[in-house]
Symmetry: C2
Amino acid sequence: MTAEARPLRVVVVGGGFGGLSAVRGLRGAPVEVTLVDRRNFHLFQPLLYQVATGGLSPANIAAPLRALFKRQKNVRVLLGEATGVDVAGRRLLLADGELPYDVLVVATGARHSYFGRPEWEDLAPGLKTLEDATRIRARVLAAFEEAEREEDPARRREALTFVVVGAGPTGVELAGALAEIARHTLRDEFRRIDPADARILLVEGTDRVLGSFAPALSARAARDVARLGIELRTGSLVTGVDPRGVTLRRGDVVEEVPARTVLWAAGVEGSPLGRLVARAAGAGTDRAGRVVVEPDLTVPGRPELFVIGDLALVEPTSGRPLPGVAPVAMQQGRHVARTIRARLEGRPGRPFRYVDKGSLATIGRASAVAEIGGLRFGGYPAWLAWLFVHLLYIVQFGNRVLVLVQWAWSYLTWARSARLITGTNAETPSPTGTSGAP
Amino acid sequence: MTAEARPLRVVVVGGGFGGLSAVRGLRGAPVEVTLVDRRNFHLFQPLLYQVATGGLSPANIAAPLRALFKRQKNVRVLLGEATGVDVAGRRLLLADGELPYDVLVVATGARHSYFGRPEWEDLAPGLKTLEDATRIRARVLAAFEEAEREEDPARRREALTFVVVGAGPTGVELAGALAEIARHTLRDEFRRIDPADARILLVEGTDRVLGSFAPALSARAARDVARLGIELRTGSLVTGVDPRGVTLRRGDVVEEVPARTVLWAAGVEGSPLGRLVARAAGAGTDRAGRVVVEPDLTVPGRPELFVIGDLALVEPTSGRPLPGVAPVAMQQGRHVARTIRARLEGRPGRPFRYVDKGSLATIGRASAVAEIGGLRFGGYPAWLAWLFVHLLYIVQFGNRVLVLVQWAWSYLTWARSARLITGTNAETPSPTGTSGAP
């Protein structure tokens, strides 16, 4: 077999929205695709906050990668951890081996960033993985339990104070869900505390919530947030986090907020593979660790090396860089697949162009904001649009009727079915074993 | 207020089947009930194997204790860990305090026992908690992943060999579900291995499976097990477990079985609180750590101290001791509630009598055995009976229509919706972060 006869080897790292779209776009193409991910599932991150707040189970928003591609015969899925790239030798380096490629697509996304304060991570967990979500779920529920046991009023108040840092979509969703849990889901369940006494603070460094939306929608969202009983603190920076709470600074005013639960939704940075790829390929990165790519999404001088999704920074020809949202990643994944197909047929690739179909963010039950095709609206219609778009996407992944059933049930009853405190601490065998039995 | 006017303080430790029934049985009674559990949920243990094999999510078989009792106003739920009992002072000792009682009901159940080889626990995990189940799920799925990556045929075979130790109901269910995963669920998902090549051994020390059933039903179950392609090894003892496999002994024949995944379903022992209670109250325990109780389920000489469920050994007036199953625990819980009510009204308590309504065990899809009211049958009718009984119980706990939806879907498609490899290892931040994104 000559080198020309061998099918092109395409390696895609990361089974998120970008990677998945790239692989799907290559269905039927005369290439050998290897999809590498550390995890065995695709995660529908936009609904991660619902796992963190007990509305959905982890499996509801995760689809096994192998199941997704069982019928696409030119794909193999490999569970593995990428540790670097040998750009000259065209090999992806793995923790337990290496993978030669003809085309490499790096789509490993972003993780939360603590702006140079990594020690805050344990104190103020962020929300990027399923484990993050179940850990946050356990912390939130345990805080109410602690309040119920606590005799000291000040400490009880501390246990019932929740601070969400960052009022982007994730922060707003988290705060909204916390408010619903406190005011509705847990109602009547405690004997000494009233969960509705919980204090929920939403802290934002800029001057408005949902900063990527139009100012009028930010104002609308701020009103909805207030209506849910959430204290919104815009223009406030977090200058300290410790086990007893956070320190906020607004201008010259410094405030200590005693709080047991602090959740971080304030910033993201590119996954570490991005910097490794950039260094190996001589490409640039921005402060958040995103790799600067050409308009066709390749690394400069390396047409066989694509970076897409949250990890990529497309040099903006005009205006702002693209937002780190699923539609951008999906369109970029499809663009990469089209470019590879074009090259196979001897046609030139084209620059990537993002088609903005609109933005949605939900705040709580029947409350959301939407910017769709020039239209800007909020409230129930926006919430229905949000529901529709998310269900539409998630039904592509098999048995997601469960999500619909759970949403319908929760909507009618305010109940949340996945309220479990599980995890490593609970896992430790105890000397006396009072866990439920038989 | 005089001592007589104060409502009787009933403390129930353990929110399993026994504890729950005791608390429910006291609804409306002039008592103050405190339900103490380490976990914030009641676990429907009979379906735990379905979580371990990816068919259900943890939340599907767990109901928050507070939600269960929000309307029963004489109950408060306390998350806490019991560390002992001061029998003379009538105080339950907790890790972070103590709880005075007038009546104490100990219902902390059992956990798996390794017959004096606790070092086997990490190598051959048992199935008692949700964390056990998600850990087993991750191990089973990771074994197939490892086989797919493995170049060496012997090691690949090792990765594809699963040993289930113990052929009681849990062992049979686990082995049956593993067979279904290997032969159906994962079909077409791998490119180098055929999951159907997986070898599943079911090892049993006695001479038959499901030893608590009639011999004819054991024979029937053994045939069903063989039909699923499971290798049944009765009369075989496990004499060694190490990371590469197990050592079996049958008579004088010793066999090494190389296997990466060993699951333990061979024995249980009472939770440690049982021995502490027995020692404090001067009561006896059997070898498995069960507390010997009077016919009315109280500890001898301590009418205010009840032990029920898997942790109790009712002196058998005739025949065998009661089996460690949910119906026994539930009936005992109700009996305790009746006894407490009788005493409040000045009537004497009665001895506990177990009403055996029958036994069911499932082997796999459309395959089960049943002994109900003298009738013994297997196959599809037994499986339907099993489904009916389990759904009937689980629907008592809120939104369990999800279980039905998932079962129906799995039955039609052979799919399993909760196939996630999650947990502490995956949680560790990696240097390169190739996890799915954005």
